[in-house]
Structure formats: structure tokens, C-alpha cells
């Protein structure tokens, strides 16, 4: 324990580190299980997705360890460049030729073999901006005027992400923005006032794109269109239902045989439920919960306001994404594509989240506890 304490500075950091690593390794196993069949079929190599994920994990590990040992306070000065970077990435991704389209949305920026999802990076840029700005203008944050730059930046980023389009990340950013404003000291009445345009924007956005309306109906009654809009949700429910209390056993999923689309990425939690059952799924959720709990704990105990805000932002985005992903998979909210942090196949998300955890570890290192 003493050795661990020396390396990881305190108990909170130890827990966060090990849970993160555990989730990542568990993710590697599940990515392999869920994707090997499709990988063999599409790329002639059953470890195609696993290999990419391992690279992401190694890159993420490096990023995490570096950031864990770099004083996070240098980030406080970068909040404006961060915002600019985020916006630039989101604009660049929209440029045909640079941005790569997939499944009807332009979300990836590619340089040869390397490509990454712009919004994955941009949402952390936004958090950094919020934390930096709110620290600098702490006293003004209780006023509506003081919180306007945050709202403006959030609005621009949300609008850009919606242009890709990517509804789920937009929701994520929106929720995190509200959390940041709450923690920044916004008055409850202002928060309530703000939720009105946001609440009214959602039905507007749904009506704007017919496919969203279809998805909404499919969510209300997926069996009405089992081969159409309801297909993915039904297949996800089949997987979970097939799992039962204890699951069919690791690697024994049947739904991964091309029945469940995106079984290795956005819907990997369905495969977890199928192979490991309710018990396994709840264990994974518990790990996430503990991680999130300790994330907030680190934020509370942060050395300074910036650390606190940054910690809350990082942890909140993790919480929102986990909850939203599992809610979609289990049919609690309408389907929207969002990766499960650390577990879903997708190296951008993995690297970015691991890097963020690195920052969190550094906040913990410098905390007063």
C-alpha cells in the first residue's frame, strides 16, 4: 500500500487508476468477443477491432500516465486555445474531403490510416474552456451575464455537432454544460430559465430530421417495425433477454453473429448482458459508479477551483455517457449512438477518456487529502 501510495499519491487515485485499467482490459476482451465474427467477415482478420483497440489502449495509457504527472494547472491558461481547437476541429470535420462520412454522418477527421472523431475531442475542449473561464470569472458566475460566454461556447459547439449530425454527443455536451453552470454558481432560477429553450429545442431537432421521429416511434413500440427502425433496439433486447441472470458465458453470444448492428461499439453493453447476464452487467455498472463517485470526490477535494471544475466536468461527461449508453441499450430512452467509455471499440474515445482520467489523477495528486 505504501508503494502504491508513493506511485499514486493517495487512495482515491489508486481506486480510479485500477478501475480504469480494469474497465479497459475488460473492454478489450469484450471487443474481441463481440467483433471477432464480423471482423473475420469484413476484414478477414478476427482480431481487426481488437488490434485497433489495443493500440488505442496503449496510446491512452501513455497519455494517462503523462498527464497524471504533469501539473494540471498549466491547462488553466489554455482554456481559450482549447475552445478554438474544439471549434476548429468541428468545422474542419464538416469540410468534405477532410471529414469522413460514415452511416450518414460526417464525424471523423482522417490523416491517412489515422482518424479520430472530432466531437470526442471537442467535448473535452469545451470542459476545459468552462473550467478555465469559470475559474477566472468566479465572482461573475452567479450573474446571468457572467455565464453568457459559457452558454455561447456551448451553443456553438452543440450547433456544430448537430451539423455532423450527432444528436447524442450534443445531448452530452448540453447536460455537461448545465452541470458546469450549476457547479460554477449559477442561480437556480437562471438554470430553470435556461432549461426552457433547451427543452423546446429537442422536439424541434427531432421534427427537423424525419429519421429521428421514426426512431422515437420505434422506441415507443419497436415491434411495430421489427425489420426497420425497431430492428436495432429489438436485437439489443434479444441479446439482454438471452443473457438472463447469469448469461450465456463469455464468448457465447449469439447476437454478435451479425444480428445486432454495432455490437462491438455502441451496443457492446448488450453483448455484455448476453454473455455475462444481469450479474455481469450490474458489476460493470457498479464499477462505473464507483469510478464516478471517486471522480466527484477528487473534485471536491481539489486543491483549487480550477481542479474542482475540471474534475466535475471530466466525471460528469463520463457519467452522462455511461448512463445514456446503457439507457439506450436497455430501451429506456430512444436509440442514439454513443460509445460506452473505456469498453466500446473506438480508439479516439478510449484515448481521450484515458487522458482525461490522467488529468483527474493529477488533480487527486495535488489535492489536500
Amino acid at each position: 500500500m505504501k508503494v502504491l501510495n508513493k506511485v499514486f499519491y493517495n487512495k482515491n487515485a489508486i481506486i480510479i487508476f485500477f478501475i480504469t485499467i480494469a474497465l479497459c482490459i475488460f473492454g478489450l476482451i469484450m471487443v474481441y468477443s463481440a467483433s471477432s465474427y464480423n471482423a473475420q467477415n469484413l476484414y478477414g482478420n478476427s482480431t481487426y477491432f481488437l488490434n485497433k483497440q489495443i493500440i488505442g489502449f496503449l496510446l491512452g495509457l501513455v497519455a494517462m500516465l503523462i498527464l497524471a504527472n504533469v501539473n494540471y494547472n498549466f491547462l488553466a491558461k489554455l482554456y481559450i486555445p482549447a475552445l478554438i481547437l474544439g471549434i476548429v476541429l468541428l468545422v474542419v470535420v464538416l469540410i468534405p474531403g477532410v471529414g469522413i462520412s460514415n452511416y450518414g454522418a460526417r464525424r471523423w477527421i482522417g490523416f491517412g490510416a489515422f482518424s479520430f472523431q472530432a466531437s470526442e475531442v471537442a467535448k473535452f475542449c469545451f470542459i476545459l474552456f468552462c473550467a478555465g473561464y469559470m475559474t477566472k470569472n468566479a465572482t461573475k458566475m452567479t450573474t446571468f451575464k457572467g455565464s453568457l460566454p459559457v452558454l455561447l461556447a456551448g451553443g456553438i459547439i452543440c450547433a456544430l455537432i448537430m451539423l455532423e449530425p450527432n444528436m447524442s454527443v450534443t445531448i452530452c455536451v448540453g447536460v455537461v454544460m448545465l452541470t458546469m453552470l450549476l457547479i460554477g454558481g449559477m442561480q437556480p432560477k437562471h438554470l430553470a430559465l435556461m432549461s426552457i429553450p433547451i427543452a423546446s429545442a429537442i422536439p424541434l431537432l427531432i421534427l427537423l430530421e424525419p429519421y429521428r421521429l421514426k426512431r422515437l416511434f420505434a422506441f415507443i413500440d419497436p415491434w411495430a417495425s421489427p425489420q426497420g427502425e425497431g430492428f436495432q433496439l429489438i436485437q439489443s433486447l434479444y441479446a439482454l433477454g438471452a443473457g438472463g441472470m447469469f448469461g450465456t458465458g463469455l464468448f457465447n453470444s449469439r447476437q454478435k453473429y451479425a444480428f445486432l448492428p454495432f455490437s462491438e461499439s455502441d451496443f457492446i453493453f448488450s453483448i455484455i448482458g448476453e454473455e455475462l447476464g444481469f450479474v455481469g452487467a450490474v458489476m460493470v455498472l457498479l464499477l462505473f459508479f464507483v469510478l464516478i463517485y471517486f471522480g466527484y470526490k477528487v473534485a471536491i477535494n481539489a486543491k483549487n477551483r480550477f481542479g474542482c471544475y475540471l474534475g466535475v466536468g471530466i466525471t460528469s461527461i463520463l457519467a452522462v455517457q455511461v448512463l445514456l449508453n446503457v439507457a439506450v441499450v436497455s430501451g429506456a430512452v430512444p436509440p442514439t449512438g454513443l460509445p460506452l467509455p473505456f469498453i466500446s471499440a473506438g480508439s479516439t474515445s478510449l484515448v481521450v477518456f484515458m487522458a482525461a482520467i490522467g488529468v483527474l489523477l493529477n488533480i487527486s495528486k495535488q489535492s489536500r487529502v
Partner: protein, 629 residues
Amino acid sequence: MKKDYTIYNLQKRLLCIICIVTFAFILIGVKLFLVIVVQSKSLQTKAISQWTRDLTLSGVRGSILDTNGNVLASSYTSYNLYVRPASIIDAQNSADTIGSILNIDSQKILDKIQNKKVSEVLIQKQISPEVALNLLGANLNGVYLTETSTRQYPYNNLLTSVLGFTTIDNDGQAGLEDYYNRFLVGTDGYSLTDGTITGVELSNATTQYIAGIKGCDITLTIDVGLQQILEGVLEKSLTEQKATSALGIIMNAQNGEVLSMATKPSFNLNEIPREDVQTLLKLSKNTAITDVYEPGSTFKIFTTASALSLGITNLEERFYDPGYRVVDGQKIKCWKTKGHGSETLVEGFSNSCNSVFMDLGLRMGVEKFYSNLKTFGIGQKTGIDFNGESSGILMDQNIVKNVDLARISFGQAVAVTPIQMITSICGVINGTLYQPRFIKSITTQDGIKTFNSIPVRQTTTQQVRKDLNYLLEQVLSTQGECQFVTGYHIGGKTGTAQKYEDGKVAQGKYISSFVGTYPASNPQYVLLLCVNEPSNGMYYGGQVAKPYGKEIFSKLFNYLQIPPDNPDMIDTTNLVQVPNVVGMSILDACAILKSIKLDYYFNEEVEVVFSQAIPEGEFVEIGTIIILG
């Protein structure tokens, strides 16, 4: 946390956020529990059905056997060829290989297997085991064979309209195959294989087989030996008499069993002309059951039976026939326009004199005659185990005038089906009307269900049927030959009926029929023969149908090894061989026949003989009448 940098309660707000997150996690946990645990069973059931690819294994159809266990119809295992397009690696090559093995156009196969929208596509049905082995030997990916069965009929075109046939999918389509379909069909089994959404089998897939169950075997009352005799003779009659069709039935008079039934022409059941629907419908129709005809003189059996039952005549009663009767001012001719003169009932029956039966009919009156006809089963379906039976046509009792009654009495203005005719004849000469049937027994999984004879009602008293059988025997022993088939007591009656087309008599179109009964005194084997539209010059039942009846009976005795019951009558000293007189002038022919002590009969109009009732070379007794046409 230092108080100095909090101007509001940050800790409290964070706690609030943690609470919200915790609550959300609990909600999600509950939702997961509902989906994974509570709805598990119903979701699993639905999921399993999409995980497995099922292919049908057809349950083999039951066989059809004749009364002695000879197989009339059976099924052998054959294969249906399916392809799963998703598993095809080289479509062109696969299509070519399959095409060359099956000997079909490979382009058609290629079109089918390139359709990636379907997980399975049927290429060919009912492939023989040898071809199936070749396909397996070709080692193609994505090619699957499922078991099915092919119907085969070992006797080819025998019993065609009775057995009927099945659809390509082994479902009864016509005849007994259709009527007894629910017993014959097997219960399908399945093969379930784990597969992906596109139908590709998993590499570690296990296949579960649920075997099909064979259908029941059914045994018929048909005797294939008799059937072959009947059909052979019918075929012969078709060519010799240039008839459009011919049919025959042999029935066991004592229980209603159909021993053989045939309609000709027919087709080979192993080469069903499915493309030519018109021909198929025409030839597969069992006209012995579905179609009606005007019976003519054979119907006089019922008139006589009815009159004898009512006691209004007796065998010795004398009648006078001037060649016609005048009924309600209308002159109705006897077939012999010169008239038969004075004759007893026995002679009148043998002569088939219309006047006698007109007298009997009018004497009975509509009410009593009809009542008896209905007792005999005329105008009603027999209830035979076959689809599409007709009930025959009996004029409405209330509109029958005396003229109609007179005509019905000798077999006109009434229509029966052949099965009804023979069933009712069996009924009156045996005393009990039986429901005719083809079914003898059904062999199920649990055992054999045997069908007993189904008596419908009593028809005639012992005295009446004794007289009737005597009358029938006299027909054959006085009409020319002393012995119909030498050494056997056989009863019989011929009939010649006009055909009607569009409600009018069709000139020159006749149905010549013959009814035979053996043994004459207590008949067991009853034969009905109908030759439709003979066009080789002769049309009388005695000329056209009777000789074939004789041939059938002599072959029947030989086949069933029935020894002569009247050996005393076999006397070769009195026999002469019939010469050929066809082509001679009528005077020359008569002279030749006279010279060898044969009698003759001809219509006055005849000048040159173009037909003779008894063919050249037959041995007949001295004094036999040879009818010339």
C-alpha cells in the same frame, strides 16, 4: 475545502449532482433487471427463432396397397436442393456445376443464387438419390439438400383415375390420393441449424434433427390382378371399337367392395402431364363415379325387380309385342321394329323387348315404381369413398307423365353413374344394398383399422332375387351361345343407350354396356362395362360390350382359379368355328353361316356385312345367332 473560495455552497451542489447520478444508476439498474431477468423468457423465445435456420424434413407419405398387399403407390426418399446465397463463394462456378449435374440452365441458377436478399433459395425439387450424391460429391459451399419424397406408381397407367395423384409437394390432388390424403400424409420434421442473420451456418453449429413421421398405409379392396385383366380388355375395346372411351367396374356383390375400376384412356401416373391441364383434367376424372349416362336396357333389371317385388307379374306371364306400344297417343318403338310377337316375361327379358317393360312400368305407376327405384339406390349418391360423386338424374316424381314412365321402364329418360348402376344391380340381385368402397384397411402407428361392409338397406325378397338371377342367366344362355363362358353359370344383360348432346339425341352416338354376374344363382362377382361412342359400325351392347365381358369373365376365372361350375355343359361335339363373313354380301354371308348350322340376324337395310358380333375363329354351339351389321 477552503471556505474562502466558495461564495456559495459548492459542496452541497456537488452532493446534489452525486445524488442525481446515483438515482439515475439505480433507475438504469432496475430497467436492466426488467429486461434481462423479468422479460428474459419471452425475449429468448423470439431470439431463438431468428438464430436457427430451419429446413423441413418431410414425413414420408404412406403407401397404397391392393387387397393382396401389392404396392400401387409408394414414396421413395428424394431431395430438394437449396442454396444459401450468402455462403456461395464462386457463384458462376457453383451455378455451372449444379446446372450440369441437374441438366438445367445454369443461368437460371445463377440468377437465384445471386439474390442475396433471401437466406435460402430453392433450386430444384425431388432430386433422385443418385443425382443428390453427385451434388454432394461436387463439394460446393452453401449447397444444402433436404429430404423429401417422390411418389411412384409401380403399375404406371393402371388405376390412374382411381388412385389419382399428388401435387409436386406430395399433397393429395386427385382420386384416392386426395380422398385419403389426411391419412396418407406424413408429419414433417425439421432440421434446425445455428446460423447468422444471413443464413450462414456457424462454424461450431450443431444441427438438431426432428425426424418426420411416415403417413399411414392404406389397403384397398382393389385386386391388381383383376385390374390388369379389366384394363387390358378395355384398352382392346377402345382400339377395336374405335370408341372414345371405355370404363369398367368389378364389384363384390356380397359386400360392396370395388375389386377393380378403370376408365380408359388413361395416362402414366409416373409421367403426369402437369403442363397440359386440359388433358390432365379430362383423363384424371374418374367418370365411373363423376359422370352420368343413360343406361338403356340394363336398367330393365330394376323395372323387373320392382315389378316382381310388387307381385304384379311372374316369369310365365305372356306379353304381346307388335314392335311398339302406344302410350297416351304417342307411339314408342321397340328396338326390334318387326316386334317380338308373343313372349313370356323370361323371353321378353332375354329379347330385351321394350314393350314388356313399358307394360310393367305403366302397371306399377309412378309412385310405386319410384319408391322401389329409390330403395334400390337409383337417383342417390352411393356414398363411395371418392370425391366428386354424382347422384344421377331421376325426373321429379310430380312431373313424370305416362310417356316418361314408359321410357324410364326400359332405361331411357333416366341417368345414372356407372358406380350407382353396378351398386344397385348388386343390391337387387343380392337382397342387400351395400355402400360401395375402395378402402379395406388403414395401417396406422397403433395398428390396423379394418373397414367392414356397410349395408344400407334390404332391397328384394329371396324369391324376387331368385327370379331375377334366373332371368339374367337366361339372357346369356338364350341369346345365341348356350354358354357365355363355357362351363360357367353366368348372368348378364346388355344395354345400348343413345347419347344426348345439348338436350337432343346425338345421332350415331351410343353407349354400349354389359352387366355380368357370377355365379348366376348367387352372384359374387358383378361386372359393368361401358363402351362410349363405338364407331366401328356396331353399337348394340350385345355386339360391342358383351364380347369383352365374356373375355373378362374367362380371364377372371383363370386368374382366381375358379373351376367350372357346370362341367356337364362342356360338350365339344356341338361346336363349330365361326367363319369370317365381313365384306361379303348379306346373302353370301347368310349362305355360309347356314351351311355350318349357324343362325343369323341382321337389319333389313344391311347389304354388305361390315361387322359380325362373334369374331372369326371362336367356337360356338350349333344354332348360335350371329348378329350381322
